[in-house]
Symmetry: C2
Subunit: 448 residues, 2 copies
């Protein structure tokens, strides 16, 4: 069976494997022009890039190599650990709430094979249950993979795809809640995009991810997914976009973050995600959901609360995010003007300032009807262009101070507003308003 | 006396004040095309921009207005609080260590006048002592103002000016230590620039600033300056570039940070400065300096320790810092290539990744001999381009992963290396080495 020997491979990689007489679980040495690597051929997700073959290295990491780069390949041995996902039929319990899981490239769940160290994403409910049978006790789960790419490549087109799927779920199904699994690198941007694009969703929308690939003993994928499904299936859950990730480095609790005030603050730690400038919505400890009392700091604009559910799927992609640094030249801004951009978010210094040598170019951008807003690269605290004369000059040049919106959230919000509103005045007015908890009245005192 | 009536004003503003019949401490209403403001005319630092007049607003903030923008001006009244800096001659105590204070635009110290709420920077030792007489007990202080601009405008030219002054102090004086006062917005960049440019300074170089202007009751300027002078005057102090700022929101202690691992993490709080990914060097509590034990995490490269003091004053200004965001276009990079840049620092996602659509342009930049390094926009944690295939592609395109150097520090380090070394291989080799504590062996576990 091709499925067994070449699990997940197709097209050129399938041909290549056959030609080389190799199959899944063979240990090989691959020589490329610049390096050589040894590892075990892993099964591969059928939706992944067809030019790559996955190897499990002895370090425990997986790596992909492009068959076009291979100068030589040599079979070293074969792992005895026979890998098979036991396609266990676990009876869905009809009484449980329905929770679809949408895969956006992050590993939803993996089955570990300790003999090879190999891992396969579990994508069907059966595979999922065989990895994490506990989840079957929480909800009737149905999984679908929307796309499978590294999260640094996720952008507006993918947001639209997710929104379309959510729209379809709203129209055709009646889930209790939904869970999206997503790579962590740009998870916060996607969370902001869904937060602004979906007003009053009829169910909770939970985004989760994993900082450690699920074949490492320290993996957080089960803990995060379990708590996300638990939350999505709960009638207590808030009907809005939230991010649920490890609260601490240990498996004690998960934090429930609002989608607009979150940031990945560590490149590898499991508790990398933090709500900045406010309290998280709550936490899940030992299967118990609790909400924070300080929630008023993060309230969603009241006037939106009575509106019906609405999904927009438009973003203006001609928006840039410029991080200010000493010596930054006006030419950086000129690029955006000349390329026909409609909006620019500055991550300014301190209260949102930028070097005064940029002011003439900012004026030019403003004359070109480019909306320019400023945030603080400090991440914590508010912008304020009225405090110093230099800030007032920026205001005069047309820069809009957007309080304590995070730079990344401001970027997504501006793309959303420019995609959905025509009048500059309206866009500026809405940039300065708290629509989805992205601007807080005051920041809770917290260590940072 | 002109000094009394028009204290600090000269040139066009002096003429304007005389023509309008106005003088310092008059309360006026100024009407401009876009706004009108009311406030009290403040004395002004003679080195400040000659086109501006300073007003104290009723909010307690100072503001400057350009006389060219004034449509109408109206005198409302006059503050009775007579302001005068008492030019007290305080005998310098010859037995105390000599500590020059170099002003770089931040307020060194100010004298409060509670009747007007007005403030004047105290720039001479006499003025300084009259504001903060306690400092005379710590050191023989001598002050000089190197420049007086908003810190968002401080860049490489100013670093050279500071370095030249420090070089002269080394050659001509024998200070126990020196203190620089600096606006907080770009203080971390300047600290990094001095750290890399000065190897084995013969005395401690302390940079400090203030988050709240000194005419506000919550001002931190005295506390920070006092502790900075105390440290600079102490034989216990480390002979390297440090930043000394409030540790907490209250006046309990100051933190001693190494100049290469610091970041302003809050736009307004007094404890805004944090050592990222490591322990600070130490703290000062109740006049006592204590150093952290975890200092090994932040050690300066050993091989430099035996070298004589060396100051370089060269930076390559054609260096850019690009913050990655979803949807970023290759054109952003093209700008830097076309403008003849020599180096680019990426603030990549997670482990230092960027969207794969940038890779062809990164290759082109690499072919143009532009040094491209990547850091993590998470700020905490390490980069790693060997973990995922996408990272390996970046490496192949020529991107250098620089571990856990902060993006801002990497930017300054690259400008420093490109200014002082010719060979690309050497520059890349040094970018990956820990020269001044900017790369730590591992990050101390800390909350963030």
């Amino acid at each position: 069976m091709a499925e067994e020997k070449y699990a997940g491979y197709r097209g050129s990689t399938l041909d290549w494997l056959k030609k080389q007489g190799l199959e899944v679980w063979d240990e090989i040495e691959v020589t490329k022009a610049d390096s050589s690597i040894k590892g075990v051929i892993l099964p591969r997700n059928e939706l992944a890039d067809p030019n790559f073959i996955s190897l499990k290295l002895s370090t425990g990491y997986n790596i992909g190599f492009n068959i076009e780069d291979v100068l030589r390949v040599r079979k070293i041995g074969r792992f005895q650990g026979k890998y098979r996902i036991p396609k266990v039929e676990i009876a869905q319990k009809p009484a449980l709430p329905f929770v679809p899981i949408l895969g956006c490239g992050g590993t939803i769940a993996s089955r570990l094979d300790y003999q090879t160290g190999g891992t396969i994403p579990a994508l069907t409910p059966e595979e999922l249950f065989s990895s994490f049978p506990e989840i079957a006790e929480l909800a009737r789960v149905e999984t679908s993979l929307l796309f499978d790419i590294f999260s640094e490549n996720i952008s507006f087109g993918h947001y639209v795809k997710i929104l379309t799927e959510i729209e379809s779920l709203i129209q055709n199904d009646a889930p209790q809640g939904i869970v999206l699994t997503h790579g962590t690198d740009t998870l916060a941007f996607t969370a902001a995009a869904l937060s602004f694009s979906i007003t009053n969703p009829p169910f909770p929308i939970v985004i989760t991810g994993s900082q450690r690939s699920s074949d490492r003993p320290s993996s957080d994928s089960f803990f995060n997914l379990y708590n996300s499904v638990l939350y999505a299936a709960s009638p207590k859950a808030k009907k809005e976009v939230v991010v649920i990730m490890h609260e601490k480095s240990s498996d004690t609790s998960c934090t429930i973050h609002r989608g607009t005030r979150i940031r990945k603050m560590h490149s590898s730690r499991r508790d990398a995600f933090k709500t900045i400038g406010g309290s998280p919505l709550g936490r899940i400890t030992e299967r118990k959901i609790s909400f924070a009392k300080e929630e008023e700091n993060l309230s969603i604009e009241v006037e939106l609360k009575d509106k019906p559910c609405q999904i927009t799927k438009k973003f203006e992609e001609k928006v840039g995010l410029i991080y200010h640094y000493p010596g930054i030249q006006p030419g950086v801004l000129d690029y955006y003007i000349e390329a026909g951009y409609k909006g620019i978010v500055l991550a300014g210094t301190g209260l949102g300032h930028v070097s005064s040598n940029l002011i003439p170019t900012i004026k030019k951008a403003n004359e070109n009807e480019i909306v320019i807003v400023t945030t603080t690269q400090c991440l914590h605290g508010f912008t304020g262009l009225s405090v110093y004369e230099s800030g007032r000059q920026l205001q005069k040049a047309g820069v809009v101070s957007v309080f304590n919106i995070l730079p990344e959230t401001a970027y997504i919000k501006l793309a959303y507003l420019l995609g959905n509103y025509r009048k500059t005045e309206k866009i500026i007015e809405l940039m300065k308003q708290n629509l989805k908890g992205e601007i807080t009245i005051r920041e809770k005192f917290q260590e940072f």
